[in-house]
Symmetry: C2
Subunit: 239 residues, 2 copies
């Protein structure tokens, strides 16, 4: 039987755009932004494109590759300082780190993908290149700079993951930030109720330990790191 005239095709909008890797990655990021990294499944992305999960495999080799492509696309939003100023290498390194953190946390828990990953995408490499250039220009020994870019990346990823950890799972209408603060209050009460003879310092430093201040804590860690890196400028690199 032929399909009668005026009958619509099998699906309402069968992805009028042809599938491309770009479209797949874009759609995946849309799901990420709306519902977090866990919601980015092959099936969910395919559904959003009006197709089945098998169709994605013509454009990405597997879910891990899709995640890495998403990360590098997000990394494209990172604005690097132009022009780089070697005299202000520490400040500019700090600016880059805070900018990376801003971009990562603006895309839910995308930082989980970066965690422990050796950068290969063009935009992630551009960030590493900028960091290296600043340190070399600032007089940091090359070997130290090579290790430091790694350490710095680890620190940024870890902080961004931490920042989104307790808000990532929040679903529906609840305010993620309120949710996190409520959780932190519980932790504070728990720490206060700890036996002071076994955990004297935790109990007495409870407010410092549970101070949420994300940005302040991040900057502190950055200062610690960069003070440490700077201390290698004079000598050859021994501890």
């Amino acid at each position: 039987m032929p399909t009668p005239p005026g009958r619509r095709p099998r699906r309402a909008a069968p992805s009028r755009q042809p599938l491309t890797q770009e479209l797949v990655v874009e759609t995946a990021i849309a799901v990420l932004d709306a519902e977090g990294l866990e919601a980015v499944t092959m099936r969910r992305v395919a559904q959003e494109l009006g197709t089945g999960p098998a169709s994605l495999y013509a454009h990405v080799s597997d879910k891990q590759e899709l995640r890495e492509l998403m990360l590098d696309r997000v990394a494209a939003e990172i604005r690097l300082p132009a022009p780089p100023d070697p005299a202000r290498w520490r400040e500019q390194l700090k600016e880059i780190a805070m900018e990376v953190r801003r971009v990562y946390t603006s895309h839910r828990d995308i930082a989980k993908v970066s965690m422990g990953l050796i950068p290969t995408g063009p935009h992630l490499l551009a960030v590493a290149e900028a960091q290296l250039a600043l340190m070399i220009a600032g007089g940091v020994p090359p070997k130290i700079a090579g290790l430091a870019v790694d350490t710095l990346g680890m620190y940024i990823d870890a902080d961004a993951v931490e920042d989104t950890f307790y808000t990532a799972a929040v679903k529906g209408d609840e305010d993620p930030w309120e949710h996190f603060k409520k959780y932190l209050d519980q932790i504070r009460d728990y720490y206060k109720a700890l036996p002071p003879d076994r955990y004297p310092n935790i109990v007495s430093l409870v407010d410092d330990l549970t101070d949420e201040g994300g940005a302040e804590r991040f900057e502190f860690g950055l200062d610690v790191l960069l003070r440490g890196v700077a201390s290698y400028i004079e000598d050859g690199g021994g501890a």
Copy 2:
């Protein structure tokens, strides 16, 4: 029909031990050690205990709780320096960090669980307590010490995750370390083939950037961090 005499029960060994939380956690760690964190599913742990997944929910509230219980049980293996020596606070802080790293990496990718988690288990709290005690005794301002224990924890977790990232997925008879080195060789070739005009520093520092030396890199980052922390001893904490 009654079961004939000498007939074995429905299953060969229907978990002769009654199920307890301890037994569930122990079994989960056995699966972790053998096959990595991804293999630790409710169904897999239940199977190992000769029962169904639903049975575990009488002893752990969900998979996340099981993971946190696993982490604190692993943390029980961390040997803290006794007695603590305030005069050697930096060395001892470094020793603790390296010991935590040793214990974490000896249990596959368990560090992924720690990543971004506020410690609540008794053994994890004992580690934080020891770190705080050393810094306070060493003259680090309390507020700085509170932030530093966080930064230090983030750094240790990030390094341990990185260390196990590319070996966690290795299955079967392949040597995980060989697998990782082969992967690093690919990265090195990739970096070498990058356009030098866009990524001059990455290309020229390729060997420093792809030097696997896990322990050396970790120690360097630790030194950077602790140099930074120590720099706060004189003054009040400004950047």
